[in-house]
Amino acid sequence: MTMTDTLIAAGALNVSPAASPAASVMWLVIAVPLASAAVLLLAGRRSDKWGHILGVAAPTVSFLIAAWGLFDLLSRPANDRIQDFDLAWWLTNGIDLDFGLRVDQLSLTFVLLVTFVGTLIHVYSVAYMGHDPDRRRFFAYLNFFVAAMLLLVLANSYLVLFVGWEGVGLASYLLIGFWNQRIEYAVAAKKAFIANRIGDVGLLLAMMIMFSEFGTLRFGDVFAAIAGVASWDPGHATVICTSIGLALLLAACGKSAQFPLQSWLGDAMAGPTPVSALIHAATMVTAGVYLVVRSGPIFEQTPVARLVVLIVGAVTLLFGAIVGCAKDDMKKALAASTMSQIGYMMLAAGLGPVGAIFAIMHLVTHGFFKAGLFLGAGSVMHAMKDQVDMRRFGRLDKFMRLTWLTFMMGWLAILGVPPFAGFFSKDKIIEQAFVPPPDALWQAWVFGAVALLGAGLTAFYMSRLFFMVFHGQARWTDDQHPHESPPLMTGPMIVLAVGSVSLGLILTLAGFDDYLAPALVQAHHGEPVLNAYLIMALTFVLVLAGAGIAWLKFGRASAVVPELPPAADGLVRAARADLYQDEFNHYALVVPGQTLVAVTTKTDDAVVDGAVRGLAWVFQGLGGLLARIQTGFVRSYAAAMLAGAILLMAIVLAVWI
């Protein structure tokens, strides 16, 4: 890139005329937190005193710019809200690898979610990490994460998205291993990083196929090319679209902890709780859903890949819910719940454009209530000396009124109790799951049933968590003095609780689906196989049942919760062990890999090196044999010479005569 290009990039001079003023400064949304992270990391200990202030200011500024961007976007006509523009370009032999942003309804929704929830969690972290000597470094990483996540969602091509994609993976790694002096936390960070790398291979594969087929990675051009797929050879088109779709899904599974790459998320709770709230609940783990929704035009062309998305979503939904029912570690139960809720989003994203709208809506509401739940969990841990075992909580509602109330809002929201936020997003997903695609009625029944069952399980495990922590008998360890957290922590929790209560209603009344629809593929509405109100009623009954069972077992005053996990049957034991996901990975992947390495090492040693060594051995032996002739006995040499001479003469004479 030349100097001029740099200047143009910095000044954003080459923005296409279509971009509005707010959109054309949208790069600042990314640049501000990135610059803040750079300052905090480069200034080192010198910035310890004021680091957290800068750390909080950066996402706040980003949020304000994004809010301006939203007003700007809303002021434009509904069919002209997708603004695609380049900030810098690299032309190499005719391959255009532009760095550009796309400001549209979808990306702006994400930007607002990330910056708003991000800012709140930054504020919370000021207090939560108050006693940590490395708080400044923590804020630097958080800011870096925000910048990378914003780059991911604002990108206008898969290439730029990939940069952000890798950036959030790195931030996640750094933050999970933030307390890397504890070896198991460092291991958890590595586990997350490696699982993410496997997904990244999928994204790379998808990009390579796109580039070789379409010669471009820009969303606009790729989607335009994929729309013209009808004119291709049908067999070729199916192969290309399906392989791109499946590769993208692999990427989404890695980032969003979906089956079969889900095993890292539980261990990722090793990071500080604000990290779990921001990265491993509200934003980064939803990047996979974003990728699938953003790539909607591709999935639209490939029913096979879409069906796989549905299956992955459904399996993960149940997987997370089952694991969540048995976990005693509060954060790991919430992580399982996150996995399950993202399973809902993935399921919805696989249902097509209408489902995708509710996937994004659930993503937004989930971002609020799950962040709120995690912050609540952090507040409880703060009060209970970093205790996470729910069997040692109980009766905390009397001591932490604000935490209890805000947590309750999040709990009701995730249950989907009307009119809390989850009701408007999750119930819609369940309803959409019952809508049969053309000529596949069975799908509606299977996925609808799974979604319904998931709602019941969600109600059970979340209520179990809520009652075990805040109600029942106090089962604290000695020397516990629970107390309410400082206002810097409860403040963000209250804001998120307000969102958990009202966001669903606000988004529905404000017409979120009409707002988002133009950014997606044209939708064709279908009717569910059951009456929508019947589905709603069934969901509500299942939720009540789940919550009721949890109350009977853990909530009422006479309920006895053993302080150690009681003996249980096979399913509960399996769920406590994460359905043996680590064992499965160990025996299905690690052991074969190690065996392969051992075998190839042995083969190399025996065959390749063996051939070389054998050759050397043969010549050494031959040399040894020949060396025996060298007796050092001069007269034998003379005799040999004589014999040779006679032999030669005999030959000469024999030839001549």
Binding site: Q630, F633, V634, R635
Partner: protein
């Protein structure tokens, strides 16, 4: 006298020289055996020269004598220096270059 008598003598001398080289241990004697073989060859050269009536064989004999003289110088020098360092002139003891 015919040529064959000379050749017979040359053969006898050569065989004696060869036997000396192969059977004797004293390097001086071995050396003498070599000289004897060379002179047997010289005799054969001269006999053939005479037989053909030209001087080629005599010329070859002169070459052999010159080379033999040079060889004697080098060979005796080696034998003397070996004797000085190892107090022996037996060829069977000279095995420093053995593998």
């Amino acid at each position: 006298m015919t040529v064959s008598a000379y050749l017979l003598l040359a053969s006898v001398l050569f065989v004696i020289g060869t036997a000396t080289v192969l059977l004797r241990r004293n390097s001086i004697i071995v050396f003498m055996g070599i000289e004897l073989m060379l002179n047997a060859a010289n005799l054969a050269f001269l006999a053939f020269s005479r037989m053909w009536g030209n001087l080629d064989g005599q010329l070859a004999a002169f070459f052999v004598m010159v080379v033999a003289a040079a060889e004697v110088v080098v060979g005796l020098a080696i034998i003397v220096s070996l004797f000085r360092t190892r107090r022996t002139v037996s060829v069977d003891d000279e095995n420093l270059m053995r593998h």
